[in-house]
């Protein structure tokens, strides 16, 4: 037994203790402190375990738990260690943040039980080394997060979101179970080691890939299986949304890599697998960001951005799968590293964004961006930290989002010609989608930051907002620092991530990464491309300082005067750009996709040229919900209605059913 796995198990037991703590702690204050303290410890341990596991290598253990004939197998390999690190690095700040965020909450018990169980589920999935343990913790994760989504179950909206979440989580669980069943049939054992060694025919491998792909894809929120995500994330408490969006989606990515890359093996890849993942990633990236642009509920907007970022991760994975299939292990390793790098980046900045949204919600009491504005004056810390996350998610240097998206681009650009014309076309196409998604994401976060934090307050609550307490500030500051560090020093971090391709692809980027010192990131070859974040940062500071100095030279005073308002003397806060108006041009451009339902009503009672009031409403529905979910729901109801009639039949009909069933069984089985 080595250090890493002991630390990881200690982290799990911390979460378990935290889940049991409400049995002894009854006071909300005690519950809150216990929850935060134990989860922070769990997060810290998971982080250290992850780093130890990546540096020292992990170990496998058989725990004397579980069913009598099937003890639990746990193992911490490079892949597990990396995701352990991802979980820990967000769990620690979220736990600290919770201490402040839950201050006003009086009924904490269900949160104090299910949040640690949720964390335990995620850690267990990452550590498990047999299908039974995996599914056990997977379901623990799904079910406990259902109770977190419905934490405020007195609202109808929350119960509806909880239902659709539970439904889709179970569907995902069923599909994943199906893929394990296929692997079990090939291996004859639930243990992952046996599944790795088993040979599987291409047909069944494809079946397992599709089952796992759709199962984990549902949980990760890949378009068009994302229906639950924009419903469930907004209604959960913000610290939970941070964990769900930041980590739980990543655990689904982990599951996909574990099953398709690790258990089936990269040698089994077929060309269309990678193409399918690439297509799913591209469509998720573009759909996610387009839908995000039209939201005015802050947390719902962030939820759609999670879909976009999962898409970016999948683009990296899909490229890597294609390159691995066509025999370019080095480039495949680069794609995988890009995807994993984006995984941890997204965990950090999306966690930070949800915590920032939670801070805004905490002090204004609303998620509606149309009633915010000017919060930078009243919440300067939150605004600054939120800005860091906005820059990171928009992939701007020197923050971390840029590094991973840049690496993904490098993979796509360096990919040589592969296969037929379709494949040759799909790689640059997905790179173009990625570029478009990046640009639109930047637009979207200009809108978010501008509408929420800049300008004037649009409502009373925004005008009377207050800065959050120190716990929440610290909770948000930690991921912000990580975002900057991962953006500035990718060369020091990539060797850790590099362990995963070493394990899965037997290829390493170590040589090319280290070739030019810590300053320069050169993915493959210096002749192709290189990037140095510190130099970019220095350049930005110098240029920015120069511009500031030129615009504000010493001695010249700044003159403030009344704003020119086109001759209209009444200027009010509602004349500002708001979330809906900012995204109006894009709504026009992409009208074919959005199909907005617009309603314009002008009342003219005095004179036809004098408008008394103008009422404008626009609604943009989710196409997937409209054209996929609702028809399926209607069909289900229709079939149920048909069968409902059968329920009313007499005893003769029931006897006849029994009779026919017996005849059928006799005919088939004898």
């Amino acid at each position: 037994m080595n250090t890493a796995i002991i630390l990881a198990l200690a982290s799990c037991s911390m979460a378990l203790v935290a889940a049991l703590a409400p049995l002894f702690l009854r006071q909300p204050v005690a519950q809150r402190t216990g929850l935060s303290l134990l989860l922070a410890a769990s997060g810290l341990l998971a982080m250290i375990a992850g780093i130890c596991g990546l540096i020292l290598g992990g170990d496998a253990l058989i725990l004397p738990l579980g069913l009598p004939w099937m003890p639990m197998h746990v193992r911490l390999d490079a892949l597990g260690s990396f995701f352990c690190l991802v979980i820990g690095s967000l769990l620690l700040p979220v736990a600290i943040y919770s201490q402040g965020y839950l201050r006003d909450e009086t009924r904490l018990t269900s949160l104090a039980i299910f949040m640690p169980l949720f964390v335990l589920g995620m850690l267990g999935v990452v550590l498990s080394d047999d299908a039974f343990t995996f599914m056990l913790f997977w379901e623990l994760m799904s079910v406990s997060s259902y109770f977190l989504v419905t934490f405020k179950h007195e609202n109808l909206e929350n119960r509806k979101a909880g239902f659709i979440y539970l439904l889709m989580a179970h569907m995902a669980g069923l599909l994943i179970l199906g893929s394990f069943a296929v692997l079990y049939a090939a291996a004859g054992s639930f243990e992952f080691s046996a599944m790795r060694d088993a040979t599987i025919s291409p047909f069944w491998a494809s079946a397992a890939f599709l089952l796992a792909g759709f199962g984990f894809g549902t949980k990760a929120g890949v378009v068009p299986l994302h229906g639950w995500l924009p419903e469930a994330h907004p209604v959960a408490p913000s610290n939970v949304s941070a964990l769900m969006s930041g980590i739980m989606l990543k655990v689904a990515i982990f599951g996909f890599i574990r099953v398709c890359w690790d258990l089936m093996g990269t040698g089994d890849f077929q060309w269309w697998w990678g193409a399918l993942v690439l297509a799913a990633g591209s469509s998720s990236a573009i759909t996610g960001v387009l839908m995000a642009l039209q939201q005015h509920d802050l947390k719902r907007l962030l939820a759609y951005h999670s879909i976009e970022n999962i898409g970016i991760i999948l683009i990296g994975l899909g490229l890597s799968m294609l390159l691995a299939h066509f025999g370019h292990p080095m480039l495949a390793a680069l794609g995988l590293v890009a995807a994993l790098y984006h995984t941890i980046n997204h965990a950090l900045f999306k966690g930070l964004l949800f915590m920032g949204a939670g801070a805004v919600l905490h002090s204004t009491g609303t998620r509606d961006m149309e009633s915010m504005g000017g919060l930078i004056h009243r919440m300067p810390w939150t605004a600054a930290l939120f800005l860091v996350a906005c820059l990171s998610i928009s992939a701007l240097p020197p923050f971390n989002g840029f590094v991973s998206e840049w690496l993904t681009f490098q993979t796509a650009l360096m990919a040589p010609q592969m296969g037929g014309a379709l494949l040759t076309a799909i790689v640059p196409f997905s790179a173009a989608m990625l570029a478009l998604a990046g640009a639109l994401a930047a637009t979207c976060f200009v809108k978010v930051f501008g509408v929420v934090f800049l300008g004037h307050a649009r409502s009373e609550v925004a005008a009377s907002a207050h800065e959050v307490d120190n716990w929440m500030k610290v909770g948000m500051a930690i991921p912000a620092v990580f975002c900057l560090l991962l953006g500035l020093l990718p060369v020091l971090f990539i060797p850790l991530v590099d362990r995963v391709p070493q394990l899965l692809l037997h290829a390493s980027l170590a040589d090319s990464i280290h070739a030019h010192g810590w300053l320069w990131l050169t993915p493959i070859d210096v002749a192709h491309s290189s990037y140095s974040a510190p130099i970019v940062l220095i350049g930005m500071l110098v240029l920015g300082g120069l511009a500031f100095w030129l615009l504000h030279p010493k001695g010249r005073t700044i003159r403030r005067s009344v704003m020119w308002s086109c001759g209209n003397p009444h200027v009010n806060a509602r004349m500002q750009y708001n979330a809906t108006s900012f995204s109006q041009p894009l709504r026009r451009i992409f009208a074919g996709i959005y199909r907005p339902e617009e309603e314009l009503r002008i009342e003219r009672s005095r004179h036809k040229l004098l408008a008394d009031s103008v009422h404008y409403a626009v609604h943009v529905g989710d196409m997937a919900v409209q054209y996929l979910y609702q028809p399926i729901g209607k069909l289900t109801l229709y079939v149920a209605k048909l069968l409902q009639h059968e329920h009313q039949r007499g005893i003769h009909a029931y006897l006849a059913y029994t009779f026919i069933t017996i005849l059928f069984l006799l005919a088939v089985y004898i």
Binding site: Q648, G650, I651, H652, L655, A656, T658, F659, I662, L663, L666, A667, I670
Partner: protein, 225 residues
């Protein structure tokens, strides 16, 4: 008696058994249904006795005696009393017309012969030929439960299924262990008593013994709520 003769006797009784099952399906008057049911019970007792003689199995004699007393006499007498007291001599108003029922019954019989064929080949018992008929009788009993409207005929169908199962047990394994058989016999007796009790209760509550009326009553109750 020689083994061949006994086997032929068993086969003959099996054929009669099938005949009674068809007759139960075909009858329209309640009392004649009951008579055929009693006849089936007697046949069952006779078959059990012959098989007991042929295999020197003393326990089977007890089974035969129980069949005679219970299925040949007690149950028909009980049901007859119920019919008398409830005045349901008039018939049976089948759900399906009787020629159609007969055709389906024929198909079901052929079907059971078809599926039992492979099993029969593996058996060495002298009663093996009766297995197909026993299966057919079980299915015909069920068919009777499905196609009849009156609750009493459904109960007779149920008891006919039980008879057929007893017959199948004799045919397939020379009878079940005595303990099991006694247990089942008591179960059937108690079931018949409870059915009898229920008929009266149903009559007073719904003022009819037709299953459809009971359903209609239930549905209306729902609508009221």
């Amino acid at each position: 008696m020689s083994a061949t003769l006994i086997q032929q006797l068993v086969d003959g009784f099996a054929a009669l058994m099938l005949l009674t099952s068809f007759a139960l399906l075909a009858q329209h008057r309640m009392l004649s249904v009951l008579h055929w049911f009693a006849g089936q019970g007697l046949l069952l007792a006779a078959t059990a006795a012959i098989v007991a003689y042929g295999t020197d199995n003393e326990e089977l004699y007890i089974s035969a005696l129980m069949a005679l007393l219970l299925k040949g006499m007690l149950l028909p007498w009980l049901l007859r009393r119920v019919i008398r007291q409830l005045h349901v001599h008039r018939e049976v108003e089948p759900l399906m017309n009787s020629s159609m029922t007969m055709l389906v019954a024929l198909g079901v019989t052929l079907f059971s012969f078809h599926i039992i064929q492979p099993i029969e080949k593996t058996s060495l018992l002298m009663t093996r030929d009766s297995m197909a008929i026993a299966t057919a009788c079980v299915l015909l009993g069920m068919l009777m439960m499905i196609t009849r409207k009156k609750a009493i005929t459904q109960v007779i169908g149920f008891l006919a299924v039980e008879n057929a199962l007893f017959f199948a047990a004799i045919g397939a394994t020379n009878g079940m262990p005595l303990v099991v058989e006694i247990g089942i016999a008591f179960d059937v007796l108690i079931a018949a008593l409870i059915f009898g009790l229920f008929f009266f209760q149903i009559r007073t509550t719904f003022d009819s013994l037709e299953v459809d009326t009971m359903n209609a009553h239930l549905i209306h109750k729902d609508d009221d709520e």
